[in-house]
Amino acid sequence: MSLLEIADLKVAFPGPTGPVNAVNGVSLRIESGQTLAILGESGSGKSVTAQAVTGILDVPPATVSGSVQLRGRELLTLSRKQRERVSGEEIGMVFQDAMAALNPVFTVGHQIVEVLRVRRGMSRADARRRAVELVDRVRIPAAKDRMRDYPHQFSGGMRQRIMIALAIALEPDLLIADEPTTALDVTVQAQVMELLAEIQRDSGMGLLLITHDLGVVAEVADDVAVMYAGRIVERGTVEQIFAGPAHPYTEGLLNSMPRVDRRDEQLYAIPGAPPNPARLPAGCPFHLRCPRATDECRVVLPPLLALPADRASACHHHEEVLDATRR
């Protein structure tokens, strides 16, 4: 049994001209101790996927279908109350903007203590002790003294650590981190990623990392799912994806990224812009930007096909791509 198994997840929002399909049938699984990165650009549906898993999506107006199982237990059919308990205790969440995720009018100590008291029924004194341990665990200097501080009194990186402390307070099995370091400076980003990796090593939880940053993915992920226009277009291990992508979108992303460790003369630029989820083109959603597109691509939507070595690609021409990218 996998820690998390998502099958054919679909999420739609009402739009002025009919439903907007943000997620169009996503299937993936995460095991304990594993880091799965969902890589995608804005509008790809990566954050909505995470929100559907955690249950913080408002239904309605959104409609969700498919299956999300945590340790074999279906989450989508749970009552609201049960769902809140599961996502509160078994799934931890870290977001991009800690200032929006923390309550600005309570001290950080109060917020962590509150969680422990409500969910674990701890006494005030026990909860306080545990909260100091947690804040210390995320390497905030002088943890005890900083419990009385409000979120705005911390720097961006420190606030991100507080949010991590809050997310791991109930020792969740799964941590979902949605662009956890995107707003941070590169030196602070490195600290926070290191911290997340260390906590994961110690606790054995599964980590679902949502990001647009290929560099971060390469540094921390075990497996990668690349999303485009609400679908997974490629899935594989991080080594497979970076050494030889099997989808032209992944290929384009890798070639369009400048690197700090060498100088490339010219960057490959994927033409056009990511499509509007309300107006997806017929056939393969990437065909308008794809150098390998043929007539088939303009008409037939390619399914996510299993390839050898336990990877998958949703491209009619995946063999051609693999031949071209394999180094």
Binding site: P141, S155, V188, H212, A218, L254, A269, A273
Partner: protein, 329 residues
């Protein structure tokens, strides 16, 4: 066009201090030393990358270069003019020559004006540049130059364009008056990865065709490496190291530069085990009360007593470094 030796913009000891209010009303809380003595030369047709973390003063520097912010002291020289002393006709002439492209293509274009109006505006402010009857023709040329279809777009509003297209419009506006210098303040950071490369390639092509010089300010060290001829590293309002792109990235001499470079994630999972990473402790200190001596010493692993007492100067030369104990090249 390869960069020449002619200096187009000379920045001399530029300083900007912002007063802050104290906790008690009507008292002073001191000053934020946003930019605290920055000097460099920009040569014709070259790209100088400026990198640094948030709060290091790089955007304040950008605003001073184009005259949007009055420096506390120091000077920005363009030819025989000094940007912040020029008035009237001289100032207008200067503004034509130095333009800016901003980070956010959503807020840097007026949402109530059509693309036609946005691109005609530079010519209305500087009517002597181009005869009225030739202006529409010129903005079509500009749109073509930045890779937009001139026929399609003129009467649409900014919100009808994608982020990448908007940034192209911002670039077309900056190019309208044929400037010698464009200051780019985080021009690609708000764009999706797949669109970033388009805009970076566009900026490079425009430089080749038009010979314009860029001051390219960004926090993304990979993008800066790709586009820059020379790079300046900024920390708490000061330049700590400047040098040609290759030597700065291949053999950084300031500990901060080395730590910064080592923190950048590399999209190559094969090498991640063996990678040496210098993890700096903590955050940059507050620019209200920067550390004495070397400003980086509070986060530096090789700081000694001298570093607390004496501020290391940024010497002249091809690859100067402001450090008492520079790393071996």
């Amino acid at each position: 066009m390869p960069p020449g030796d002619e200096v187009v913009l000379r920045v001399e000891n530029l300083v900007k201090h912002f007063p802050v209010k104290g906790r008690v009303p009507f008292t002073s809380g001191g000053v934020v030393k946003a930019v605290d003595g920055v000097s460099f030369d920009l040569r014709r047709g070259e790209t100088l990358g400026v990198v640094g973390e948030s709060g290091c003063g790089k955007s304040t520097l950008a605003r001073m270069l184009v005259g949007l912010e009055q420096p506390t002291s120091g000077a920005v020289r363009f030819g025989t003019s000094v940007v912040h002393q020029a008035r009237g006709r001289e100032l207008r002439a200067l503004r034509r020559r130095i333009q800016i492209v901003l980070q956010d293509p959503y807020t840097s274009l007026n949402p109530r004006r059509t693309i036609r109006e946005i691109l005609l505006q530079p010519f209305e402010i500087h009517p002597d540049v181009l005869d009225r009857r030739r202006r529409i023709e010129r903005i079509k040329e500009l749109l073509d130059l930045v890779g937009l279809d001139p026929g399609l777009h003129l009467d649409r509003y900014p919100h009808q364009f994608s982020g990448g297209q908007r940034q192209r419009i911002g670039i077309a506006r900056a190019l309208a008056l044929s400037p010698d210098v464009i200051v780019c303040d985080e021009p690609v950071s708000a764009l999706d990865v797949s669109v970033q490369a388009q805009v970076v390639n566009l900026l490079e092509r425009l430089q080749e065709e038009l010979g314009v010089a860029y001051v390219f300010i960004a926090h993304d060290l990979s993008v800066v490496r790709h586009i820059s001829d020379r790079v300046a590293v900024m920390y708490l309002g000061k330049l700590v190291e400047t040098g040609p792109e290759v030597s700065l990235y291949e053999s950084p001499r300031h500990p901060y530069t080395r730590a910064l470079l080592s923190a950048v994630p590399v999209p190559d999972p094969a090498g991640r085990q063996g990678r040496q990473r210098i993890l700096l402790a903590g955050d940059p200190p507050s620019p209200v009360d920067p550390p004495s001596g070397c400003r980086f010493r509070t986060r530096c692993w090789q700081a000694a007593d001298t570093c607390a007492t004496t501020e290391p100067p940024l010497a002249a030369g091809a690859h100067p470094v402001a450090c008492h104990f520079p790393l071996a090249a």
